[in-house]
Assembly symmetry: C2
Homo-oligomer: 342 residues x 2
């Protein structure tokens, strides 16, 4: 399985991206990488970090798409950028299964739509991160969409539900995943017209629809896939991140500024907090899948360091091997007809 | 200052509501209460809890509006309910400054609009809770709207901004409060058409508009008032609540199930966690102000116990005494013209 890696996308590119690629190769023996970007720099970085050149190809690209560029313009004009060339490589070569980039979200999504293309009948591709369930049992919950489509119609959300279901089945390994609609109350008349209409459509679909989920219960074990328009999904996702980071840093400060008893206690619970952070952090490292396009596209965090890139690459490989794309294709083909019939 | 208390609204009514009223009276010497509901039951509860009858009036009401009733129907038909009679008392008597209810949010808001009425030129009243800033310095941030208006127009959000500003000045005591728009990115083109248009209008208003705030930075010290439509505001608010509760309970479980070192550490940091919880919990106890109607209306949490009701009553009193309603009236009168002129 070959994965294309945009070596010049992200805040810490190219050093951490190349390092992350090498980490992934070291931990996954049947993986091969195509790194895209300035050839000499990549080549030197691979040597410096003792990368296995026999499993790395380099595709030269002289331009870089910055985080603040207008996505459509950048994708159209910067034809020799690492991101555009990575997409070109993904589409030209049959031995490549997926692309990973930590570059600008807008550019990655625009590139995916323009260069890779939508799966037939998918009205809108969507960005789908995975969040941890905050319960003793743990587990994962997928949130789709979290920002690719700020404005949505009910049919879009139905497609998100179906893609989320297949993602949960194939990538997260959850059987008959519970699908919930992000909303501001349990009853079917809650929310805006978008949620009200979507609720009625989701009820008719051949999915395990469990009704609305509120922000408050999102990370309890109430569902496995949360369906949302991109605007609200993003608000929910980032609120969660903000509070988690804020609370943990308040606890750290309170221990630091506490009395002797608190300070000693703080030392003793340090390992527990490290485990907790690693556990939650493990999720935060995961990239977001961009579902609904014809190839596996994983958007890694812009601030990714090597360990995060490693996670995103392994994630992309697992998705590509799972046959997820074909299953989404088949699922949309089948379900789309049912929705239209009603 | 007299406050009307809906003694039969909320999950723990009437016992905890009456107890909360008595707590407030004990801690606030110039407060008088009018408790509304089944007279005999209230009267017995006051006696049982040694309430000062000289500062409590009882208004008899034989019906109760349940949490699941359709708000408009309930308010129109249940004329002898504790909530409707509480609103009637608020409107009939000039010595009453505010109403507090822990009853169904929908019924309280509908009652406020139908019985109290909108302030002239306020396009939509909005629900405004106060959240804690998760920083060492602490402080408060107001979120407006968080659920009264799922669907909004830009002009509604401009009114929310103005009411939020006056609320922050008069109730939170923040000078020249920083107003931010809840959005999914910093740039002015982010979000849906609603956020994009609102951004341009807020820029023109006579307020300290500091641009967009993302879910992630909401509770950092980036702004004092967050403006949002009711749907997204509710999603943000409840996501915050959910994560805070989830994280703290995970930490508790990890300590409980940890090794001896972690358990001892847990005992030593217990007081620190108690302080933290009290601090955050103090905010969670606060009721949400319903801004834009002609009287002070405070919606206490449905699950309120006595201590939470006490907080909501004191809050209502402070608001009523601050002249907030008159200031909102004057502010909307003045600013509304500017918005229309542009």
């Amino acid at each position: 399985m070959k994965i294309v890696l945009d070596a010049f996308g992200g805040d810490n590119a190219p050093v951490e991206i190349v390092k992350g690629g090498i980490l992934a190769l070291n931990n996954c023996s049947d993986l091969e990488l195509i790194m895209v970007g300035k050839e000499e720099i990549i080549s030197n970085l691979i040597k410096e970090n003792n990368g296995d050149m026999s499993r790395i190809e380099i595709v030269n690209a002289t331009e870089i798409i910055g985080m603040e560029e207008v996505p459509t313009t950048a994708i159209r004009k910067k034809r020799d950028s690492s991101l555009v060339k990575a997409f070109d490589t993904l589409m030209k070569r049959e031995d490549v299964g997926a692309i990973v980039s930590a570059g600008s979200t807008g550019a990655v999504l625009t590139g995916a739509v323009l260069k890779v293309g939508r799966i037939k009948k998918v009205s809108r591709p969507a960005l789908c991160p995975v969040l941890p369930k905050l319960t003793e049992k743990g587990g994962s919950v997928a949130l789709i969409d979290c920002g690719a489509n700020a404005e949505c119609k009910p049919i879009n959300l139905c497609h998100f539900a179906l893609m989320g279901k297949i993602y949960a089945e194939t990538y997260l390994g959850i059987e008959n995943p519970r699908i919930a609609l992000l909303n501001i109350g349990a009853e079917d008349h809650k929310g805006t017209a978008l949620q009200q209409e979507t609720y009625q459509l989701l009820k008719k679909m051949d999915i395990n629809f469990v009704g609305n989920v509120e922000g408050r219960n999102m990370l309890e074990d109430t569902c496995d896939v949360i369906v949302s328009d991109g605007y609200s999904g993003n608000i929910a996702l980032k609120s969660c991140e903000g509070i988690a980071i804020g609370l943990l840093s308040m606890i750290k400060n309170n221990i630091k500024n506490g009395n002797l008893k608190t300070k000693i206690g703080g030392l003793l619970v340090k390992d527990m907090f490290k485990d907790l952070k690693d556990n939650i952090g493990g999720y935060l490292k995961k990239g977001a899948a961009f579902l609904g396009v014809k190839k596996v596209v994983v958007k890694a965090h812009g601030s990714s360091k090597a360990d995060t890139i490693e996670v995103a690459i392994i994630q992309a490989k697992t998705m590509a091997e799972s046959g997820m794309i074909e299953k989404i294709q088949a699922g949309i083909e089948k379900e789309n007809m049912q929705i239209t019939e009603d």
